[in-house]
């Protein structure tokens, strides 16, 4: 380590002085001038006349240029020349050993490339600050329920309170996203829109490049309808015409006046969106009345206010809030507002996955380093005499070490360049596998941070493997080398090479164990029965309904027609509509049981479904009945609950006939037109529809025909078909026939929605398995190399043995046994380390222990088998050595 730091320091000093050349020269000149002046002054004091005193001093000092030259050499020149010489020498030497250079570069480039790819993702997702000016002053405001529970959002009342009362927040904003069509009918285009409150642009410190942002009047309730549009929309729809400002654009049902155009690269990171249009969100404050915790709030802190100070002031304001609105603060432990980073809120679970991957890929690099060091050691054996001669003619040991390190760094640098290319390609591969909701996906790519990282690890790699490769040879004495005709360091090197094999085997086993556990867990998840049959079901997704469907009756009439039309398509077995697809977030509503105060517990999963839902998804009805076409708006209100709900409140099984109070909060019906109780008419089996890994929650189903329009979105349509024939065009036709105003839907399979639920897991499994297999491959190459090298080294010995009648088998066996002993030691060590490390992925495992013995045994056998092959192949070669030839070597 000390050698490394000295080496680094020296390199740094050289580099710095090279860059500061001018300054250094100027300073030296000034110093010399000072010297001459002082000498002249002394000469004056000694009685010489002015001009003569100066002349004398200058003459005495000698040629300033010559001194400059000599001094420069001392400060920089000579050293720089020698680093240049080192590099030139390294390149020359390496060109004489292209095979060695290629093998090293390929090995390292693989490791560096993989690291670059993963780090790019980590950098973009976790490390990059928000892409706005002074991002450190941006913070999200969430709500702390106490006991470690928090939510990254505020209620409307909280939002207003904190906006009004905290002096540390310069500006705050909240937003809603919406989709709205531009144009009409089948040719309409759906725009991504944002409604933003207050000083949205001030918080982000971003201003429209053309026009302006919203004025105070436009932000106030009742203000004019104005919009800021994206650069893309401005170019495509308004022809990029600056005169478009002030023009009216009809988006959805509203005509907006365009007042500004966003910068081209504008993105709103918190929603991962690139909004087409931004319009004011006008919130009305009714003090004391409050809704849910539904407002994401982004704030810009005042300049020079630290996060800590802001947090402590918010705590003060929160106390005041709790005192002012005791009835709005549920739970005695509630702490109040809390400042949060982007990571806290949006990256969440991805964080641990990414760190695990970064750790895994660092292990791969470690193995690559071990292999490169092994290559270098193998080569060093052949170079001993060269080194000895150089020592003999006066090269310092330090100098030779430096030469070898320079060689290693040169190779690592080339590998770094190749690795960068691999990394850039690799990022795309990683992103192709990554779940669609990976945060800030669009910001992932090659940036300064990634470049710095890659050059950093390239240098580090070069030093680490260079030292491991160079030191063992340098230590032993010159005399040994010469005496033993170039085999002087073999024993020392062999020990190092053996150690490296043990280490890389251990690391490979750790990676294999981690990947093995994830694969095991993933298999468990795949075979999990979600409670519904997703095969052969096409999901028809509607982004938005025509504004004309503004009553429940009109919407239901269309849904009925739609189901009828689709039902006529040959091969369609059944059609069902629901408020959401299984495994995609559904709505929670307050649902209580009549006469059971203990059952008034707020949010319960609520699903509005068509009568055919259970049949289409093949969810068994356990008791009672399913919905009928007759359960419509005019009929008595009915509901079906799932098994979990029924057994929770009625463990004895008499759920049917009980009455529910849906959407009744604190004694009041949330939607007056939907007031009244609902009778339970059936119980269905549980469905894992929140997430595959999450146990079913208490769920209440109601007929779509009885649901109030306010809580009905576009139907999540599911069509069960026979086999795999292409049904999409026929269904698309049926949709168009149902109503011309409906925008074309998108199609996917229900299985793909189920698969999407496992996207995170799949991502982890694929990436980690890829790393583990790379590690295995590299380790195999390492073992192969070491044994092949032993064979070459021991050619004479083997030849003699064979000449003396040793069996080929026994020679082979001896070599293989040695390799396998090393592998066994490495595997044992790796298993120990893995036992300690796998608990970091324990939370990512489903139904498999972090120290699952079967998995460990399987990966260990895999490693063993691969190692055996890698050792046996070169060992076999040894026995083909002809004794006569072996003896001729050297």
């Amino acid at each position: 380590v000390e050698i490394m730091t000295t080496w680094l320091k020296e390199m740094w000093a050289r580099l710095r002085s090279t860059m500061q050349r001018d300054r250094v020269d100027r300073e030296m000149e000034e110093e010399f001038r000072f010297h001459v002046d002082m000498a002249a002054q002394r000469n004056l004091r000694r009685g010489l006349s002015g001009p003569e005193a100066r002349r004398e001093a200058v003459r005495n000092f000698g040629g300033m240029d010559r001194h400059l030259e000599a001094s420069r050499d001392e400060q920089r020149g000579r050293i720089l020349e020698s680093i240049g010489a080192d590099i030139r020498h390294a390149v020359r030497t390496l060109r004489r050993a292209p095979g060695f250079a290629f093998a090293t570069i390929a090995t390292l480039a693989l490791g560096i490339g993989a690291n670059t790819a993963i780090f790019s993702v980590v950098s973009g997702v976790l490390l990059a600050p928000l892409p706005y000016p002074a991002p450190d002053r941006l913070a999200f405001v969430g709500w702390d329920w106490g006991n470690g529970n928090w939510i990254g959002a505020l209620s409307q009342n909280q939002f207003f309170h904190f906006r009004e009362h905290s002096s540390v927040l310069e500006s705050v904003t909240t937003w809603r996203t919406f989709g709205a069509e531009l144009g009409e009918g089948q040719s309409a285009r759906i725009l991504d829109g944002m409604r933003v409150s207050d000083d949205f642009f001030g918080v982000l410190a971003v201003e429209p490049v053309l026009g302006r942002s919203f004025s105070a009047e436009e932000r106030a309730p009742g203000g004019p309808e104005v919009a800021v549009v994206s650069d893309g929309l401005w170019r495509t729809v308004m022809g990029g015409d600056p005169a478009a400002l002030g023009r009216m654009v009809r988006i959805g049902d509203v005509a907006y006046t365009v007042i500004g155009v966003l910068p081209q690269d504008f993105r709103f990171t918190p929603t991962s969106s690139n909004p087409d249009v931004i319009v004011p969100l006008r919130l009305q404050w009714t003090p004391g009345a409050d809704g849910g915790q539904n407002f994401s709030v982004l704030a810009r802190l005042r300049a020079n206010v630290s996060l800590d100070r802001a947090a402590s002031e918010l705590a003060e304001v929160s106390r005041a809030y709790r005192e002012t609105y005791p009835d709005l603060v549920r739970g005695r432990e509630a702490q109040g507002a809390r400042l949060m980073s982007y990571q806290d809120i949006f990256v969440g679970g991805m964080q641990s996955t990414l760190w695990v991957m970064l750790a895994a890929v660092a292990f791969v690099l470690l193995i690559a380093c071990a292999n490169a060091a092994n290559l270098m050691l193998a080569r060093a054996t052949g170079r001993d005499r060269e080194v000895a001669v150089r020592v003999a003619i006066g090269a310092g040991r330090q100098r030779i070490l430096r030469q070898m390190l320079t060689e290693a760094v040169v190779l690592a640098f080339i590998a770094g360049c190749v690795g960068l290319v691999i990394g850039v390609v690799g990022v795309d591969a990683v992103l192709a596998l990554a779940p669609g909701d990976i945060p800030r996906r669009e910001e992932i790519g090659l940036d300064v941070r990634v470049l710095a990282f890659t050059s950093g690890i390239a240098l580090f790699t070069g030093l680490v493997y260079g030292l491991a490769g160079a030191l063992p040879g340098i230590r032993s004495g010159l005399a040994d080398v010469l005496r033993q005709a170039g085999r002087g360091n073999t024993a020392g090197r062999r020990r190092v090479r053996d150690t490296l094999i043990v280490l890389e085997t251990a690391v490979a086993l750790v990676l294999l164990a981690g990947a093995g556990l994830l694969v095991h867990s993933f298999r468990n998840l795949r075979t999990l029965d979600p409670g519904f049959d997703a095969s052969n079901v096409i999901a028809v997704r509607f982004a938005r309904l025509p504004a004309a469907f503004d009553t429940a009756e009109l919407l239901m009439r269309w849904e009925h027609t739609l189901a009828e039309r689709i039902g006529q398509v040959p091969g369609v077995i059944g059609t069902a509509a629901a408020s959401n697809y299984p495994l995609e977030r559904g709505l929670n509503l307050p649902i209580a049981v009549e006469g059971r105060p203990d059952a008034a517990e707020g949010a319960v999963e609520w699903r509005a479904i068509s009568p055919d839902y259970f049949e289409t998804l093949r969810i068994p009805v356990l008791r009672g009945r399913t919905f009928q076409e007759t359960d419509d708006a005019n009929a008595a209100r009915v509901a079906i609950v799932n098994e979990t709900y029924a057994s929770h409140y009625w463990p004895n099984g008499n759920a049917i006939g009980q009455r529910l109070e849906i959407m009744k909060l604190r004694g009041e019906w949330m939607i007056p037109s939907a007031a009244g109780t609902t009778e339970i008419v059936g119980v269905v089996a549980d469905v894992n529809e929140i997430e595959l890994q999450i146990a079913p929650r208490r769920t209440v189903y109601v007929p779509r025909r009885q649901a109030p329009r306010q809580v009905l979105g576009p139907p999540a349509l599911m069509v069960r078909v026979t086999g795999n024939t292409a049904f999409v065009p026929a269904i698309a036709d049926a949709v168009r026939d149902s109503d011309l105003r409906v925008l074309p839907p998108t199609f996917e399979t229900l299985s793909s929605i189920v698969d999407a639920d496992l996207a995170d897991e799949r991502f982890r499994v694929v990436i980690l398995s890829a790393f583990a297999l790379t590690a295995l491959l590299l380790t195999a190459v390492g073992i192969f190399g070491v044994i092949a090298h032993s064979v070459t080294q021991q050619t004479r010995e083997i030849g003699i043995r064979m000449a003396l009648g040793a069996h080929a088998r026994s020679v082979e066996l001896r070599l293989v046994r040695r390799a396998m002993l090393l592998v066994a030691a490495g595997a044992a060590m790796g298993a120990l380390v893995a036992t300690a490390l796998t608990r970091f992925i324990a939370s990512m495992l489903y139904d498999v222990a972090a120290t699952d013995v079967t998995t460990f045994a399987i990966v260990a056998s895999l490693l063993g088998a691969v190692a055996l092959t890698a050792a046996w192949l070169p060992a076999r070669r040894a026995t083909r050595i002809a004794p006569s030839e072996a003896l001729r070597i050297d």
Partner: protein
């Protein structure tokens, strides 16, 4: 001032020792070091500027002394050199070595 044919020569390597010794008392600029060496040696030794500055830079690079721009009593900017702890240690070592060497040389000379 002309070069003294006797004083000009200096045994290689002793310049470093002399510089360190001068700086042991107080930080000093290049000119001051020259003057001090000449004074203290009773003008027996004179320092060749062509080797003084390279020597100073070498010592800085080794971390035995460090350089800093300061203002002299006459209000001129000059680069002052000061001994570092490492330099102090090296001075002791060098001094010991020099004494051993000069004892040896003296013995040999006395012998002859």
């Amino acid at each position: 001032m002309h070069e003294d044919p006797r004083g000009g020569a200096m045994i290689k390597g002793t310049l470093d020792l002399l510089i360190l010794r001068v700086l042991e008392r107080e930080p000093m600029h290049g000119w001051g070091i020259t003057e001090r060496i000449e004074q203290r040696s009773g003008a027996l030794l004179s320092v060749n500027q062509g080797s003084l500055y390279p020597a100073l830079y070498r010592l800085v690079r080794r971390g035995w002394i460090r350089a800093q721009w300061k203002v002299t009593e006459n209000n001129r900017r000059a680069r002052f050199y000061a001994l570092t702890p490492k330099g102090r240690a090296m001075l002791d070592e060098e001094r010991e070595q020099w004494e051993r060497l000069s004892r040896g040389v003296n013995l040999v000379l006395g012998d002859a």
